[in-house]
Symmetry: C2
Subunit: 452 residues, 2 copies
């Protein structure tokens, strides 16, 4: 009998899919899933829907709910952390305050991770939450696996694997992004074998095999002969970044294709302002422009409202809003592999330990790994091209280290050091003011104490 | 019988001191010194003065001169490279062109090396000259030591030690900068034992012992109780940066005191514009402001003119313009140590090979080393504080790698990558225009071909 705890279940950004996958995985019947959130109302919604979904799909899963994390952790085997401290609301407030001081898209947006709800230097509250959850796990269920899904995955997993003794896996879904590339250049998915490695939100396609043959030449051909036509009247959805001019430009700059969320970043070259973003990501300016991001937040709100309406009306089948098909997320299949010894390759975030040459062992990387009952066996994937290491991976890694240093050591000076290295900083005063404003936000009281 | 070759002897920035030290070192009598320069007029001046200085000091040194490097290298035991390709004139022209595009102080000025005749990314001609000289040495006198004194010492020595089989030592004099600190806080030099390590122009005082006791508390006390008074009516010379507010601020930021040229850098926090420079380095804005640097170039010109006048008037004793005391530079004592087995500790730039923990073995570091007839034995100096590694050493090292990559691989894209990471870059167009303008300079024809 397995027990899974989903922390931050109320947001549904992840939990709805996890509920689905759990109910649809026959080999995990009998599992208990404890849904945890501090927002009682949302917690009631996801819990109510989960129970109904289980009935509709004939699943034997016991869904519990609690606002008390420690209660949920009793006897837990797996903990999925999906929580964003303060939610999107606080993130947007903090971004707005930074933008008033000249930091377009907020101080957390950095060269190689522009994802708009990804905290880097401004994430004291989020990393503190990670550590608090981890400490509870160490106290209550130290043998449990912690699947870290909430961002920042790179910073968070490196922090947690250094500072705790827990079994931590970072999980994301960006690596599936190659499927969009395959679609555009018309390759059948079933014949494709793809490997993308690096750091979370910074992975690069090191292997692209179609029926056993290198398919990079096909991609190259598309870039050379068809991409311009493709982009001519291109009106992509905000999340459709895989085949953007930005992605292709990154490929030309660094020699490997960026996969998934990687294509959302690539430095200020593509992100300096809305006009620049439009040039590289189409009319909406991509996922992380003020337009694209607003559409994403709107999508989340609408989805939530649909859930709330469904919850309030028992005559609506839950399967009409949560499809009766598995989501493709890795969490539940990973549980299945670990519990039921179903050997499979997953894309996970774990300490490097030699998987990628040239990266320190205690830095978390995103790589493929074989998982079965024995645990996780990372695949040694060799090295990334020198150009990518020098211009992307090492600078990104340094930023991660700066963020952890600021979290672990505190003080105001490290926030300032960060901003002194931000190309948007025009003066010392501007940086100081931005820090003062952010630390002055009511929900940052503890953070202000830490960074005093 | 020892043979020394001084390449770039005509500039006299270094050669005048080397001539002096050689003549004043009795144990090296019988040495032949071949002075090399492509500027015949200046070569005649330094050669004439060297011969007269030898007579005046009763030295038994044979001074030769030639414009043909290969001739000079026959049977050479030591080669001192002091040459700046294109001289200061080209450097200033290139800087001016960059400044017109918004790159104050030129594209080569970077966070942790603002030294104003130090090429980083714009230094194709200089690094090409280094490699050409090295290839000649490999052909003609492969057993000779190459003492690399011309900047960029960090980039140049890393390049030369990776790409050739020569015995290369990088030499600078910045590490003596602690003497100025000792003077200000009134410590007697003879009781001081100081260690400063890192990269050239980026060294940090890891040990500061006065009569065997840690003297950092004395420095700390000066900072806390007397520095403000000291700076009140401070009118430093342009080169007087050791005890500047910038140096003290760096100490506070990174935990160790910056030594020598290190204090000239420290990021754009101190260098954004002339006003900022004045705030941190006094009324002249420090060594690398438009004021300070102009004064330095004026000093070089005046010194040169004095040499030319002395050369033209045999009645002036050369010892009246070149003092009859050794300069304190390490070159000649190093030759003495290697040739005559005079064991001594020197501050040199050599591949790390474990000397500083956490820095790759093939990156050149500046560390103390014991030198005698057997050669150079670097002292393993442990590690630098994590904060310094994360915020200074690693970012500086990445810039060095970018510069070498651009030199070795060529292409225009790597110049652009560099500028995309420059905080002065406001747009892609600006960066492109700066590159176009610099590559369009008449003396950059070969560079333009390389970076096409």
């Amino acid at each position: 009998m397995v027990k899974i705890v989903i922390v931050g279940a109320g947001s549904m950004a992840w939990s709805a899919n996890l509920v689905k996958d759990l109910c649809l995985t026959k080999s995990l019947r009998g599992t208990t899933a404890s849904l945890v959130d501090i927002d009682t109302e949302r917690l009631n919604v996801i819990h109510g829907l989960a129970k109904r979904y289980a009935v509709e799909t004939n699943a034997d899963i016991a869904f519990e709910k609690t606002t008390n994390r420690k209660d949920a952790l009793q006897d837990a085997d797996f903990v999925f952390n999906t929580a964003l401290a303060g939610g999107h609301e606080n993130y947007e407030t903090q971004r707005m305050v930074a933008e008033k001081r000249g930091y377009y898209r907020g101080i957390d947006s950095v060269d190689f991770n522009m994802v708009s709800d990804y905290y880097t230097i401004g994430g004291y509250n989020q990393l503190k939450l990670f550590m608090d959850i981890a400490k509870d796990i160490e106290d209550i269920c130290p043998e449990a696996w912690l699947f870290q899904t909430a961002n920042p995955v790179f910073e968070g997993c490196t922090l947690l694997t250094r500072e705790t003794k827990l079994k931590v896996l970072g999980l994301c879904h960006g690596h599936f992004g190659y499927q969009r590339i395959a679609e555009i250049i018309r390759l059948k998915l079933r014949n494709l074998r793809v490997q993308s490695i690096g750091f979370n939100h910074c992975i690069w396609m090191t292997s692209f095999l179609y029926s056993g043959e290198d398919a990079y030449p096909l991609l190259e051909k598309w870039v050379e002969t068809r991409s311009q036509t493709y982009w001519k009247d291109w009106t992509p959805k905000y999340h459709d970044v895989e085949t953007s001019p930005a992605a292709v430009d990154m490929y030309k700059r660094f020699g490997l294709f960026p996969i998934g969320d990687t294509a959302r970043s690539g430095g200020w070259k593509y992100h300096a302002d809305l006009e620049t973003k439009k040039r590289w990501y189409g009319p909406l300016g991509g996922f992380d422009s003020e337009i694209g991001w607003a559409l994403y937040l709107q999508y989340l709100r609408r989805r939530m409202n649909r859930m709330i309406r469904t919850h309030g009306n028992p005559s609506i089948p839950v399967t009409s809003v949560l499809s009766p098909f598995t989501s493709g997320e890795q969490h539940i299949p990973l549980v299945d592999a670990l519990v039921n010894d179903k050997k499979h390759v997953f894309q996970i975030n774990v300490p490097n330990d030699g998987a990628i040459r040239g990266i320190p062992n205690d830095v978390v990387v995103e790589v493929p790994a074989i998982v079965n009952r024995k645990g996780v066996q990372r695949i040694h994937v060799g090295e990334l091209p020198k150009r990518l290491m020098l211009h992307v991976l090492i600078p990104r890694m340094v930023r991660m280290e700066w963020a952890l240093e600021a979290f672990l050591e505190g003080g105001r000076d490290l926030l300032l050091e960060w901003l002194l290295n931000d190309p948007r900083t025009r003066s010392l005063e501007q940086a100081e003011q931005a820090i003062t404003d952010i630390l002055g936000l009511p929900f940052n009281e503890e953070m202000a104490e830490h960074h005093r």
